[in-house]
């Protein structure tokens, strides 16, 4: 770690700190956790909860303001679920896919839009919670649990028959796929968000004013797309396990 301390430049501009691989450790019981991720996730969760509470406090027949916006968001996540899982069975999965999408979306954008740098930590820095591999792996594993649950609840133990379809020769590849799915899901999100923040940080280091703005806008765009992709893929995997049950 000492070799690359040069990269953790604390220049005249405190905005341009690059602190990858340094964490603000908390000891909880026997576990060591990354505190900065917890703080930012709590902020994101609180933001989502407060918004949805305020928006749905007194529902009106003709929506306006925040309620209108929330209805639009609900429509959006419902469309993701519907297009991936299908008209018939999408309904129970809307909460899961919607939560994934909204959490990842707000988390990604919070990294760029929320003025985290005001708050000083003894070590590390506050940034998007999704730029820590642990967050994205947790989300990916939740997705894996979800589609296993979907398949098994639909088809019982016969769900595992999909491993020897179309022929038993493909068994190793099918099992390997079970590992590559969460791996690619988590790495894609983690890499994209971290890359965004690194590119912005490097540019801010070189030219602190105005020049990084287009890249920041691009970062906002890609992080929105990444949230959409994560939710879409989760929906696609769940839809796939549900579909396997329907063939017979």
């Amino acid at each position: 770690m000492t070799f690359f301390d040069g990269l953790n430049v604390t220049s005249a501009f405190p905005l341009a700190e690059l602190e990858v691989g340094e964490h603000f450790y908390w000891e909880i019981g026997n576990y060591t956790v990354h505190g900065q991720v917890f703080i930012t996730s709590w902020v994101v969760i609180a933001l989502l909860l407060i918004t949805s509470y305020l928006g749905t406090r007194n529902l009106e027949r003709v929506p306006s303001g925040l309620q209108n916006f929330l209805e639009y968001a609900l429509d959006f996540v419902r469309d993701i679920a519907k297009s991936q899982i299908g008209e018939k069975e999408y309904r129970p999965w809307v909460p899961f896919i919607g939560t994934l999408f909204l959490f990842i979306f707000v988390a990604n954008w919070s990294g760029a839009l929320f003025p985290w740098k005001i708050i000083e930590l003894p070590e590390s820095e506050l940034a998007a919670p999704t730029n820590d591999i642990n967050t994205t792996v947790a989300l990916a594993l939740l997705t894996v649990l979800a589609y296993f649950y979907a398949g098994i609840s639909k088809r019982g133990i016969g769900y595992f028959k999909k491993y020897i379809e179309p022929t038993p020769i493909l068994l190793p590849i099918n099992i390997l796929e079970e590992f590559t799915k969460p791996l690619s899901l988590s790495f894609r999100l983690f890499g994209n968000i971290l890359a965004d923040e690194l590119v912005v940080a490097v540019l801010v280091l070189l030219v602190p004013l105005f020049i990084p703005l287009p890249v920041m806008a691009l970062g906002l765009f890609t992080s929105a797309i990444q949230a959409l992709i994560f939710a879409t893929l989760a929906g696609a995997y769940i839809g796939e396990s549900l579909e396997h049950g329907e063939e017979e």
Binding site: F3, F4, S184, R188, G191, N192, T222, I229
Partner: protein, 81 residues
């Protein structure tokens, strides 16, 4: 970290990103070209084509990002140091 490991890691990180960018670059160019062709032929389908194109571009981009993750691991969390 001794200097040999450090040098090798830096070179490997550069290669990881650089090589990982080749394939997705070709793929993205191909996909965008085809999408343009589709829009030129059928301008009314533009919205649908654009949505699908953006989604698939992001998938291809993910491949480079895997290379980037490897590079970042080499630079910031080197297992050999």
């Amino acid at each position: 970290m001794d200097s040999l490991t450090a040098a090798a890691s830096v070179v490997a990180a550069a290669l990881a990103v650089g090589l990982a960018a080749i394939g997705p670059g070709l793929g993205q160019g191909n996909a965008s070209g085809q999408a343009l062709e589709g829009i030129a032929r059928q301008p009314e389908a533009e919205g649908k084509i654009r949505g699908t194109l953006l989604l698939s571009l992001a998938f291809m981009e993910a491949l480079t990002i895997y290379g980037l993750v490897v590079a970042l691991v080499l630079l910031f969390a080197n297992p050999f140091s």
